[in-house]
């Protein structure tokens, strides 16, 4: 019997692969937040104004806030199914550091819910008449910002995973936490529009991402242990 214990990297990949597989099999969970994002963005011109000047002013903010809402909605099933079927217990009892297992789950969540939104953002930016020179900045800021949202939101999801009726508690906890990301994300786009360089702002976001990657999974892991208790 080959009883060599797996390396943490193997376990990381296995968890990542498993979550991607589940997401692939339950397409609704992936498609719905994405559709939500597209629909919310399309509602803004109808609610505010079809004038292209006004739209281009609010485009970055609208896209960013819709991304926040969509990522929060898709967060909800990050740990719930695993909690309900007991897989989460198996994850907690694995000999590997929970940090990396949580990181794998967050990465897979971002790949299926964050990345598609980022990829489609230039199209929506075009529909909202965002000036062309800001496309790259918007794309980069979303590319850095959405994983931060996944990592931070994961803490709140882990804390509320055992609750029968969560309602909007997830939103109440997560949305205020997204303020720093939102600020730097939209500021970088505005900097580009004002013909300034967004590099510094994007670098700050990268630093935030680095902090989030190294600290948030720790908090999520602790939160999962509390919730499974």
């Amino acid at each position: 019997m080959a009883a060599e214990q797996t390396s943490t990297l193997t376990a990381f990949y296995a968890t990542l692969k498993r979550d991607l597989l589940i997401a692939f099999k339950r397409k609704n969970d992936v498609v719905n937040p994405f559709m939500f994002f597209v629909i919310v963005v399309s509602l803004f011109p109808i609610g505010i104004s079809p004038e292209s000047d006004r739209l281009s002013e609010i485009a970055a903010g609208v896209i960013w806030i819709s991304v926040l809402l969509a990522s929060m909605l898709s967060m909800d099933n990050l740990y719930r199914a695993d909690y309900e079927d007991g897989s989460l217990e198996q994850l907690l009892l694995s000999p590997h550091p929970l940090f990396f297992m949580v990181l794998a789950k967050n990465l897979s969540h971002w790949l299926v819910s964050g990345l598609p939104v980022v990829l489609v953002s230039p199209l929506l930016a075009y529909m909202l008449n965002l000036p062309e020179e800001a496309y790259t900045t918007l794309f980069c800021s979303l590319l850095i910002g959405t994983p931060i949202m996944s990592l931070v939101g994961s803490i709140a999801v882990a804390l509320t995973v055992g609750l029968g009726s969560r309602g909007l508690i997830l939103a109440v906890i997560t949305l205020p936490m997204s303020v720093p990301v939102l600020i730097f994300g939209t500021l970088s786009v505005q900097a580009t529009l004002n013909a300034a360089s967004p590099i510094g702002l994007l670098a700050i976001m990268l630093a935030m991402l680095a902090v989030a990657v190294s600290l948030a999974p720790l908090a999520s892991a602790a939160a999962l242990r509390i919730s499974v208790n």
Partner: protein, 218 residues
């Protein structure tokens, strides 16, 4: 990490019991579940927890697994405090709870591939062999939501066959099993303790195993 199998018992001090809990105290919802509880589990022993509903069997098991930390008292693993060596403890522990840890979206094969990769390198053949042994031949590739509760339970039991964990903690493993499944699990338990493993189990089912000892709660 050296290979850990029941066949190659312990390099550690032999006179120390595998798992020992002393003076455990736990209360839930202002009700004392147990206090001053002592228990020992050694190699080659099956410990059956008995007690009425709500007497704290599941809670005790989860405390011993490290899933629940709202207790007072000491738990030691081969004579050393369990908090000091969670990695070594977790790699020799296999827990199957009420929720069996089988994702309904995945097939039995995919489920086992994942849960095994968390522990030790396992080949595809081993998994298929184990699935056949628990009577799931032909169901390897069907999604688990199409399987019955008993069959899902069998998927989790297949882990017992593959995994060489020394300590099994099983919470009501017999409930959803049919007659054949019960026989299969009993054989498994016996083989495991013969090979020097230890088992802690809750069940209302009467176990017919010579190494059995019983702890009553509540």
């Amino acid at each position: 990490m050296p290979p850990v199998t029941p066949e190659s018992p312990v390099d550690k001090v032999a006179d120390k019991p595998m798992l020992r809990a002393s003076n455990l105290f736990c209360e839930r919802d202002e009700r004392v579940l147990f206090s001053g509880l002592d228990l020992e589990l050694s190699e080659g022993q099956i410990l059956q927890l008995q007690g009425s509903n709500g007497s704290g069997k599941t809670t005790l098991m989860r405390i011993l697994c490290g899933l629940n930390d709202s207790y007072e008292g000491q738990i030691s693993w081969y004579g050393e405090a369990i908090e000091e060596q969670t990695a070594s403890f977790f790699s020799s522990l296999l827990y199957i709870g009420h929720r069996v840890g089988v994702s309904k979206a995945l097939t039995p094969l995919e489920n086992l591939r994942w849960s095994c990769s968390l522990r030790q390198q396992t080949s595809e053949e081993e998994i298929l062999k184990a699935l056949a042994e628990v009577g799931l031949r032909g169901f390897e590739e069907s999604p688990c939501y199409t399987l019955s509760a008993g069959q899902q339970q069998r998927v989790s039991l297949a882990r017992l066959l593959i995994n060489p964990a020394r300590l099994w903690i099983l919470d009501e493993p017999f409930t959803t099993l049919d007659k054949k499944g019960v026989d299969l699990l009993e054989t498994l338990l016996q083989a495991h303790v013969k090979a020097g493993g230890a088992v802690m189990v809750t069940t209302h089912h009467k176990l017919d195993i010579p190494e059995l000892s019983i702890l009553s709660l509540g």
